[in-house]
């Protein structure tokens, strides 16, 4: 039986992007029926873990030009400038809306919104809710979304496939976890908001649920993945668990030191350190407030020089916030203290926190335009699973929460308009696709009794990715990773589960997630292989320079019968011609037409 559950717009994902999109559709046209399909309860989405904050210009000393420039230079000029302008212009409105919906933003004494500095920014513009910004944003969005009657919640439904008819997208096939039922959830527009894919790597700040499902679904339907080679490492994760120590710890004045207690960042073009008690410390875009890619790269250099510390989970350095004092730590960074105490077993009031770079964010994702539209009519994407691109080669901290809102809303609005004009699908064709998918899942996973366990395949893939597609890469290392990923895909064909039942089969979900990750990893490797330059988060030791001649372009990875094919798409440059990325003392706004590198 392939019953179809019918709606107008189907949103896959209940994180910041998905919920914002759902509200946008409901507000734009209250007569539309909206389905929010989420593999975990929406308030569990990984948006919940974002600590630091969300960027938008609101203070008098800031300006849209600064935000635009910080974003574009942070992106190493790989961001589309029209998209960035639009993003910066709509950001304050979106964060204000969230305020109206009840988000408990931290405040100045006079009751206005407080902002804090973040890495790579010239001027502080990050809105925050103590150090639980993502948590408060997500719960505010979720609780607000509950009031919209047209929204139907498919909580704990896992989307496995896009439904297509006549080259348009008409919904998804999804498994209801509690019953194991496989159904078609149909709508004339689908918005993918499934988040990132950090779990492709072994050490990550990402939750177990960040497995790139939406990217894989789109990729399999022939939609290209853009700029997948750009993987952001966050310089301060806890060794072992990968739990994030927010950048706000450095924004408030925390410093990074190597095993000799030396502030090593000064050796890597990030400016000169000021004493921690100097009232001017920390200086924006300098030292500890440099961009994430540079900080993570500096760590690898220190490690090669043997100046990092060694622990059971590999090399690490120290993040010292002791000089802030207990009062300030409890006031501004309570979550940091809580996490360090629980998971690193130290109290940052008295001891520095051991940290190392860990995979944090995927700059790449499903190729969309500024309205969230993908090349497949009826399919939209927003949030971390999409690539507009405003993040280019390196995302600026605190831009992505805002991105989820701005582009979630835009995708929602455009999808709401689109469904009015889209033709009706052929229901029997969709039903057939649901039946086929149900058969596939049954045969491939539920009926097989012999083969290889999931975990060994997953571990092999993750380790290969870290080794081959890590902070520094070479042709050989990436090729080796790609070979390993292809081997894992082979082995996955023979994967065997212990669990052959229907009700809440979490092992089946883990298998489907691994299948998605293998596709994402494959696209990532191929793009990393063919981008023969170094830019932002993609550092090729065999091509150490940025090459604007050849590669001021987005990579588009297509799935074809004979492997992944890469095409190139020009970056949109409007007013800010490519220049050298500068941090430290000489990191001002360059005059228009600044020097090319």
């Amino acid at each position: 039986m392939a019953e179809l559950l019918k709606h107008d717009v189907v949103i896959v994902g209940g994180g910041a992007a998905g919920l914002r999109a759902a509200i946008a559709v409901a507000e734009r046209n209250p007569s539309l029926s909206v389905a929010v399909v989420s593999k975990i309860y929406p308030m569990r989405s990984h948006t919940v873990s974002a600590e630091g904050g969300a960027a938008a210009v609101i203070k008098g000393n800031d300006s849209r030009e600064h935000h635009i420039y910080d974003t574009i230079s942070g992106a190493d000029w790989l961001a589309d400038q029209n998209a960035v302008e639009l993003f910066v212009d709509e950001a304050p409105r979106e964060l204000t809306l969230l305020e109206h919906w009840g988000c408990p933003w931290s405040r100045e004494p006079d009751g206005s919104i407080a902002v804090r500095p973040f890495g790579g920014m010239k001027i502080e513009r990050t809105w925050f809710a103590a150090d639980k910004t993502g948590f408060h944003m997500l719960h505010t969005l979720y609780q607000t979304a509950l009031k919209y009657v047209p929204i139907t919640w498919y909580d704990e439904w896992f989307a496995t496939k896009l439904l297509l008819d006549k080259d348009r997208c008409y919904g998804v096939v999804a498994i209801e976890l509690r019953t194991g039922a496989i159904r078609g959830i149909v709508g004339k527009a689908v918005i993918l908001c499934t988040g990132g894919a950090g779990r492709v790597y072994p050490f990550t700040t990402n939750a177990i649920t960040k497995t790139g499902d939406g990217m894989a679904l789109a990729f399999r339907a022939g939609v290209p993945l853009k700029d997948m080679e750009f993987v952001q490492y966050h310089p301060t994760g806890l060794p072992g668990t990968g739990i994030l120590i927010t950048e706000a710890a450095r924004g408030e004045g925390g410093i990074l030191v190597n095993k000799d207690g030396y502030r090593y960042l000064q050796d890597y073009g990030l400016g000169k350190p000021l004493d921690v008690h100097d009232p001017r410390h920390p200086v924006k875009r300098t030292m500890e407030l440099g961009p994430r890619d540079k900080l993570s790269q500096a760590f690898v250099m220190e490690m090669r020089k043997g100046r990092t510390l060694k622990g059971p989970y590999g090399d690490y350095v120290l993040l010292d916030i002791r000089h802030l004092g207990e009062k300030k730590i409890d006031e501004k960074l309570p979550f940091v203290r809580e996490l360090a105490r629980n998971y690193a077993g130290i109290d940052p009031v008295y001891e520095p926190i051991p940290v190392r770079p860990v995979v944090h964010y995927m700059m790449g994702g499903v190729h969309t335009d500024v309205d969230g539209k993908t090349p497949l009519p009826g399919l939209y994407a927003a949030g971390e699973c999409a690539c507009v691109s405003i993040n280019g080669a390196n995302r600026l901290g605190s831009n992505s929460l805002t991105e989820c809102l701005v582009f979630g809303a835009r995708a929602g609005h455009h999808a709401a308009e689109y469904v009015g004009s889209a033709p009706d699908p052929d229901s029997s064709a969709l039903e057939q696709q649901v039946r086929d998918e149900a058969d596939r899942i049954r045969k491939q996973f539920l009926e097989r009794t012999e083969g290889e366990r999931l975990v060994s395949i997953r571990k092999d893939m993750q380790n290969a990715m870290e080794e081959g597609c890590g902070i520094y890469r070479t042709e050989q290392s990436v090729q080796a990773a790609l070979n390993k990923v292809e081997e894992c895909r082979e082995r996955f064909q023979r994967v065997v589960l212990d669990d052959h039942t229907n009700s809440f089969n979490t092992e089946l979900i883990a298998a489907l997630e691994l299948e998605c990750m293998l596709d994402v990893a494959r696209a990532l490797c191929q793009a990393a292989l063919e981008r023969r330059e170094s830019r932002g988060a993609h550092q090729r030791e065999d091509y150490p320079a940025r090459d604007d001649e050849k590669f001021l372009k987005h990579s588009l990875a297509y799935r074809t019968a004979d492997g992944v094919k890469i095409e190139w798409l020009d970056v949109v440059i409007t007013k800010w011609p490519p220049a050298e990325r500068k941090y430290g003392a000489d990191s001002g706004l360059p005059s228009e037409g600044g020097n090319k590198s």
Binding site: R178, T179, G180, N502, S503
Partner: protein, 129 residues
């Protein structure tokens, strides 16, 4: 297929954790508060019947059985008072500016008030007697 399993709530739930036992004790000791209220009414009633009746009542109350019973009652009421004071900060959440007044300050203040009121009361009794 779905077949949620329903567990019924155990009748002896309050035996299962010290906190639950303490909660039951708090609820039970409230009986003594009512008892002493009733006792005070009896006392007033006897007093209203004249000095002899009151003297007889008080003599009865000096018997060891009654004294022990009332000592137990006093402890129970003190315990109840203690639990009552402990909960006050939750209800009040007093703030001075942005800072919430720490719980122990509120609890302490109540004990101070308690001691002061009790002392004034005894002083008045002494004066009257």
């Amino acid at each position: 297929m779905r077949r949620p399993y329903h567990r019924s709530y155990p009748k002896d739930w309050w035996l299962r954790h010290p906190h639950y036992r303490r909660f039951m004790l708090r609820e039970l000791t409230s009986v003594f508060v009512a008892y002493f209220a009733f006792w005070t009414i009896c006392l007033l009633f006897q007093a209203s019947r004249g000095p002899e009746q009151l003297a007889a009542f008080l003599t009865t109350m000096r018997k060891p059985g009654w004294l022990i019973w009332h000592a137990i009652g006093l402890l129970a009421v003190l315990f109840h008072t203690y639990t009552w004071f402990e909960t006050a900060p939750k209800v009040l959440a007093v703030r001075i500016g942005e800072k919430r007044v720490p719980d122990r300050v509120i609890v302490g203040a109540q004990w101070v008030a308690f001691v002061v009121v009790a002392a004034v009361f005894f002083a008045l009794l002494r004066l009257a007697g």
